[in-house]
Every structure is written in structure tokens, then in C-alpha cells.
Symmetry: C2
Subunit: 132 residues, 2 copies
């Protein structure tokens, strides 16, 4: 199946970004971002539907972030705890919800660069062969 059950609201208006930053306590970076993309999916209480929407929008997120990085643009996602606020600020219909925000901008202090030592669980711990 190829549902493409996603919509994107691109926000650049400063006042709207400020409001949007209120949807989660760790979303303050949204306020000063150059642009923030709101990832919108259908509202659902069905577990399998939600799983699929979230999985698909995760794939979208990686595409957005990689494309941005290729342009020297940094990105940081944020969860949306206050769905009501997000819905009001973005003007979403009742049957949609804002799954995540992806804030974008050029780094203020230095060009974007790969992390030298990303904090990753060790490969041999994470990858299992044939069975767990």
C-alpha cells in the first residue's frame, strides 16, 4: 500500500513559530527556526493505523533531514504534546493531528558538519545475527 497519508504545513511567520513552540516543553528551538515543517497525519485511535502513520512519517523525516543537511541546513524534530494548540495554530481539520515538527535553519555559529563521535549504542549490541 502506498497511502501517503501525510500533509506538511510549512511555517515561516515569526509569530506563528512562536506560538507553535508552545506545543512541547522541548520545542523552544521552533520559535527561532528559519522554517518549521509540521508533519500532519490523520487522527486515529487504531493502533495499527497509528503505527503505520508514525512509521511512514519517520521515513519522511529522514528524507527531509538528509535533504536539508545536503544544503547545509540543520534540523531538529520536536514532539507535539499540546495537540489542541497545534491544531489551532495550524488550522488543522478535526480529523488530522500534528504528529511532529521539524525545525530548520542554518547553524548560527559554524557550518553544519557530521558529528565526530555520535553517541550510539555499539554495533555489536544492536545488531543480532539470525536470532536475538
Amino acid at each position: 500500500m502506498n497511502q501517503q497519508a501525510w500533509d506538511f504545513v510549512v511555517v515561516t511567520d515569526r509569530e506563528r513559530l512562536r506560538e507553535l513552540a508552545g506545543v512541547w516543553r522541548y520545542a523552544t528551538h521552533v520559535e527561532r527556526s528559519a522554517a518549521t515543517i509540521a508533519l500532519v497525519v490523520p487522527s486515529s485511535t487504531d493502533r495499527d493505523e497509528r503505527d503505520t502513520y508514525q512509521y511512514d512519517i519517520g521515513q519522511v523525516t529522514m528524507s527531509i533531514m538528509l535533504s536539508a543537511a545536503d544544503l547545509g541546513i540543520g534540523s531538529g524534530h520536536a514532539a507535539v504534546a499540546d495537540q489542541k494548540l497545534a491544531r489551532r495554530v495550524l488550522g488543522l481539520p478535526e480529523d488530522r493531528e500534528c504528529a511532529w515538527l521539524v525545525a530548520l535553519g542554518y547553524p548560527a555559529d559554524r557550518p553544519l558538519a557530521p558529528m565526530v563521535r555520535p553517541d550510539r549504542r555499539p554495533f555489536d549490541e544492536v545488531v543480532h545475527r539470525e536470532r536475538w
Copy 2:
């Protein structure tokens, strides 16, 4: 937060791939794949936790698929309807579940190439400016 709440079981054994292909009616491509990666996350009935696991594993999936494509390797994901079967075949602990499978292999008939006309919803329908 940087949970990295993911584990990967890489399966190449033919008999195990055959068994694994039984987890979903559209997972038949797993049986003849060169390798299939089982994406494993913690079991949870908490909505926000599930959302996060699925979102994160979606980002991982895009990374896997892009890396594979870069090597000329095709990929196709599959859902896991029969969690009990997946858990048995992969030897997963009770507190984990197999979220998705990503089957990998060189295309049998032609080199991997970008789709000429991907079936995408139109850009102007999907992207909204400032508000929905």
C-alpha cells in the same frame, strides 16, 4: 532524548527467511530475499511510546534503504501481523516486538534505478503554507 530503542536481527538463513515470510500476507518477498533485517522495538501498549518507537524506526528504515540503494541493493518493507510467529522465529524476548521487516536484495532482472514516474500526491496538495 536519544533512546535508540531499537535492535536489528539480520536474517540470511533460507529456512528462517521462509518462516519469517509467514508473518504477513504481503511479506512473501522476504522468503527469497538475500537478507532481511527485522526491526525490533520494546513492546508497549502506551500510545506515546509506540508513536515514538514507530517514528524512530521509520527514520532508521529510510537510512537503511538509502544506504542499500547506494550499493545497488533494492529493499522492501513488510508489516508484521503475526507477532507470535515473528517472536518465535527470531527468538525475541517477551518485552520486545518485531515492528517491521526490511527485505534486501539485488534486483533480479535489471540494475536498481530511480522510478521514472513515482506515484506521488501532487506537491501543491501535500504542502500547505503557514496554515492548513
